[in-house]
C-alpha cells in the first residue's frame, strides 16, 4: 500500500517522480516565468513606453531581435531534421526528430507570445489573416509563421496520440492532414501572389503529389505525411529567409556590414546551421537533464554536415562584403565592426576549425562546444542586424530595460519547463514507448512492496 501524498500539478509535471520535490533549477525557472507574467500584465496596463526603452529611433529592440529573430532561427532544427529523416530518408537521425520538432513547436509558440507582448496593438494580431498587403515582407512572415506553427503542431501530434490513444481523432487527422495542407498552401499562394495562375500551379503540384500517394505510387509514414513535411520545409525556407528580407528595405538604417540584397539567403543558411547546432545542443543537455544515453552517432553525423553549411555561409559573406565594397567598413574601428568580427570569428570560423579536427568532431564535449559557438554566433548576428547595426543620430541610444530582459528570460524559461513536462508525459524520446514505460512502472511498484 503506497502512502503517496497528493501532489499539485506542478510537482507532478516537474518535480521528482517519487516525492514531487521541485529541484532548485526548476524553482528558479518557475520564478522567472512568474516575474515575466507580472511584467507582461504591467506592460498591457501602462504601455510600452513605461516598460521598455524602445523609442522612435529604435522602434525594434530586444523582443524583436532576440525573441522573434533568434527564436525562429534556433527553431530551425525542426524542418532540417524533418527533411533529413522523412524526405531524404536518412533514418539514422530518427531518434532526434521528435525532440527537434518539439523544440521548434515550443519555439514558435513562444515567438508568438513574444509578439503579443511587443505589438503595440496586439489585439489586432489577426489582421494580416484578412487584410492582405502582399508586397510587405512582414505580411509574408506573419502568414508563414502562422501556417508553420500549425504544421509543427500536426507533426508533433502523433506523440500525444501514442500516449493517450484517442484513436478516432488520430484517424481523422491522418485522413485529412494532406488535404488540409493543400488547402492552406493554396490559400497562402493566393495571398502572396494575387495571381490565379500561381495559385492554380501550387494547387496542381501539391494535388498531383497527393494523388500519387493516394494511388500508392508513393508510400508515406501514416503519421507524418509527405505533404506535411514538404509544407514544413517550404514554409520554413520562406520565412527563415524572409526574416532577413525584412531588413532589405532599410539601406538607410542598417549598417553596410549587414545590409545586402543577399539578406534572405544569409538568414536562411545561418538558420540551417543554427538548427543543426541546436539539435546537438538540446540533445546533449537533454541527455544530462533527463538522464538518458546520448545518441553520439547521430550527433557526429550532424557535426559532419555543420562545417559544410558554415563554410557556405562564410564564403557567401566574404563574396558579399567584397562585392559591395564594404571591406573598408569592416576594417574601420567601431562598435559595429568589432561585433561584426566577433560574430564571424566565434560563430563561424571557430566552429569550422573545431569541427574539422577529428578529436573534436568525434567527442560529445567537442560537438557541444562547437554547437554552442554556432548558436552564440547566430544570436549575435540577429542582435547585430536588429539592434547593433541600426544607424541612428549620435544622440539616439537604446539598451533594453530590465523588464524587457525579464520578459525574454521568462519566455525561454517557460520553454524549458514545458519541454521538461512534455518529455515526462509524452513519448518525446524514441525509447519512451508507452508499453515499455508501463512495464517499467509495474516493475518499480512491485519492487517497492
Amino acid at each position: 500500500m503506497s502512502g503517496k501524498p497528493k501532489l499539485g500539478i506542478l510537482q507532478q509535471a516537474l518535480g521528482d517522480e517519487e516525492t514531487g520535490r521541485l529541484n532548485a533549477g526548476t524553482k528558479i525557472l518557475l520564478a522567472l516565468v512568474g516575474i515575466a507574467v507580472v511584467i507582461a500584465i504591467v506592460r498591457y496596463i501602462v504601455g510600452l513606453g513605461a516598460t521598455t526603452n524602445l523609442n522612435d529611433a529604435y522602434p525594434w529592440g530586444l523582443w524583436i531581435s532576440f525573441d522573434v529573430l533568434c527564436g525562429v532561427a534556433l527553431a530551425a532544427g525542426g524542418f532540417t531534421l524533418a527533411a533529413t529523416v522523412y524526405i531524404f530518408q536518412l533514418r539514422k537521425y530518427h531518434a532526434v526528430v521528435r525532440p527537434a520538432v518539439l523544440t521548434a513547436l515550443l519555439g514558435y509558440i513562444l515567438v508568438v507570445i513574444g509578439l503579443l507582448v511587443d505589438l503595440g496593438r496586439y489585439y489586432k494580431i489577426w489582421h494580416p489573416m484578412v487584410m492582405w498587403q502582399h508586397t510587405s515582407v512582414m505580411f509574408e512572415v506573419g502568414w508563414c509563421v502562422m501556417l508553420y506553427t500549425t504544421v509543427l503542431f500536426l507533426e508533433f501530434a502523433p506523440a500525444f496520440f501514442e500516449r493517450y490513444g484517442y484513436k478516432n481523432i488520430r484517424a481523422l487527422i491522418r485522413r485529412y492532414t494532406s488535404p488540409f495542407i493543400i488547402a492552406i498552401m493554396t490559400l497562402f499562394a493566393a495571398a502572396m501572389s494575387h495571381s490565379v495562375l500561381w495559385t492554380a500551379i501550387v494547387f496542381a503540384v501539391l494535388g498531383f503529389l497527393y494523388m500519387l500517394v493516394a494511388r500508392g505510387a508513393l508510400r508515406e509514414d501514416a503519421d507524418t505525411p509527405l505533404l506535411l513535411v514538404m509544407a514544413g520545409v517550404i514554409l520554413s525556407t520562406l520565412h527563415q529567409s524572409s526574416l532577413g528580407s525584412l531588413f532589405l528595405i532599410l539601406p538607410h538604417k542598417l549598417s553596410a556590414l549587414w545590409h545586402t540584397p543577399m539578406l534572405p539567403i544569409m538568414f536562411f543558411v545561418s538558420a540551417v546551421s543554427a538548427g543543426l547546432a541546436m539539435v546537438i545542443f538540446e540533445s546533449t543537455i537533454g541527455s544530462k537533464v533527463f538522464r538518458r544515453p546520448l545518441e553520439l552517432d547521430v550527433l557526429k553525423g550532424l557535426g559532419k554536415a555543420l562545417p559544410y553549411v558554415l563554410s557556405v555561409y562564410l564564403l557567401l559573406k566574404i563574396i558579399d562584403i567584397v562585392a559591395r565594397g564594404a571591406v573598408d567598413v569592416a576594417f574601420t574601428m567601431s562598435a559595429q565592426s568589432i561585433l561584426f568580427w566577433i560574430e564571424i570569428m566565434v560563430g563561424i570560423v571557430l566552429p569550422i576549425a573545431l569541427l574539422l579536427s577529428t578529436d573534436v568532431s568525434r567527442s560529445a564535449a567537442g560537438l557541444f562546444w562547437s554547437a554552442l559557438c554556432v548558436i552564440v554566433g547566430l544570436v549575435l548576428n540577429r542582435l547585430n542586424v536588429g539592434i547593433i547595426g541600426i544607424k541612428v543620430e549620435s544622440w539616439q541610444t537604446y539598451f533594453p530595460s530590465w523588464m524587457e530582459f525579464a520578459i525574454s528570460i521568462g519566455i525561454v524559461s517557460a520553454g524549458l519547463l514545458i519541454f521538461t513536462a512534455a518529455a515526462r508525459y509524452l513519448p518525446v524520446y524514441e525509447e519512451d514507448d508507452p508499453e515499455i514505460a508501463r512495464e517499467r512502472r509495474v516493475e518499480l511498484a512491485a519492487a517497492k512492496e
Partner: protein
C-alpha cells in the same frame, strides 16, 4: 484631382513656426514640453514625435562674414512610392491618388515596421499609451479632399509653403532656381529622392548643410523587396517539385535495392 504636393521654399521661411502651431491646432495635438539639447538646433521639440507632425529646424552658419539662420522643415514627405505603405503588413498606410499618404488606425497592429522602413524617419509612435497609434503628418488629407489647402500652407505668412499639383510645383521650383540662380542651391529635394516625393524643398545652401538626409537612394525603397517577394510563389512551386521529386527518386532507389536483395536471396536459395 491630380496628385497634390507641397513646395517648401526655405529661402522664404522666417522661422516663425506658425506652421507648427497651426498643425497642432488643426490636428488637436498637445504641446510638447521644451527640450534643451546641445547641438546645432533651436527647434522644439528636438525631433518629430507622436504629438508633433512638423518642425522648423534651425542651423546658424556664417555666410559672407555674417551669421545667418538656415531654416529646414521636417515633415512627412508623402513619397510617390512610400516605403511605409509597402512595409505595412495590413495596408494601414496608403498613398492616395490625390497625394497624401494616409494612416488607417483601425487596421494598424502596432508592429512599427513603418518606423523602421521610412527613410526620413517620419512615423512616430505613442509609446506612452496602452492603445498606441502611429502618428505623422497627413497633408491635412481631410482638408485637401474637401478642396481646401493644408493648415500649414494656409498659415505661412511669407508664402514659403505652396500647395498645388505636384507637377506644377515642380515647374515652379525649377523656375525659381532658373530665375534666381544665386539665391538658390541648384537642387530640388524630393524630385528624385527614393523615387520622388510629394513634398519638395528648395534651399539657399546644400541640403546636407541644412541637416537634411542626403545619402538616400534614388529608387523607391519598396524596389529593394520586390524581387524577394515576387519570388515567393516560385519558391513554393520549385521546392514542391524538388522535394516531391527527391522523395520519389529516393523511394524508388530503396525499392529497387530491396528487390535486388530479395532477388539475390531467391537466386541463392534456388541453387
Amino acid at each position: 484631382m491630380a496628385a497634390k504636393g507641397i513646395l517648401i521654399d526655405n529661402t522664404r521661411c522666417i522661422g516663425c513656426r506658425g506652421c507648427q502651431v497651426s498643425c497642432k491646432q488643426w490636428n488637436k495635438l498637445p504641446a510638447s514640453k521644451p527640450e534643451f539639447f546641445s547641438g546645432p538646433g533651436y527647434q522644439n521639440p528636438r525631433d518629430l514625435n507622436a504629438d508633433t507632425f512638423t518642425i522648423i529646424t534651425y542651423k546658424e552658419v556664417e555666410i559672407g562674414g555674417r551669421f545667418e539662420f538656415l531654416f529646414g522643415r521636417l515633415m512627412c514627405m508623402h513619397c510617390n512610392e512610400p516605403a511605409c505603405a509597402s512595409a505595412c503588413p495590413v495596408g494601414a498606410l496608403e498613398k492616395l491618388k490625390e497625394g497624401p499618404v494616409t494612416y488607417h488606425a483601425s487596421k494598424c497592429i502596432g508592429c512599427r515596421y513603418c518606423m523602421m522602413a521610412c527613410p526620413f524617419q517620419v512615423p512616430k509612435f505613442e509609446w506612452s499609451k496602452a492603445f498606441p497609434l502611429i502618428r505623422k503628418c497627413t497633408m491635412c488629407s481631410d482638408r485637401v479632399l474637401a478642396g481646401e489647402i493644408p493648415a500649414c500652407a494656409k498659415t505661412c505668412p511669407t508664402g514659403a509653403i505652396a500647395f498645388g499639383d505636384r507637377s506644377q510645383l515642380l515647374h515652379e521650383a525649377e523656375d525659381r532656381i532658373r530665375h534666381n540662380p544665386s539665391v538658390y542651391h541648384h537642387q530640388i529635394y524630393g524630385k528624385d529622392e527614393v523615387g520622388g516625393t510629394g513634398v519638395l524643398h528648395l534651399s539657399r545652401v546644400s541640403f546636407e548643410e541644412v541637416g537634411y538626409k542626403t545619402d538616400l537612394p534614388a529608387r523607391p525603397l519598396s524596389s529593394y523587396t520586390r524581387a524577394a517577394m515576387s519570388a515567393v510563389p516560385g519558391v513554393v512551386v520549385g521546392l514542391g517539385v524538388v522535394l516531391g521529386g527527391t522523395y520519389a527518386i529516393i523511394q524508388r532507389r530503396m525499392e529497387l535495392a530491396g528487390k535486388a536483395e530479395s532477388s539475390v536471396e531467391k537466386e541463392v536459395e534456388s541453387q
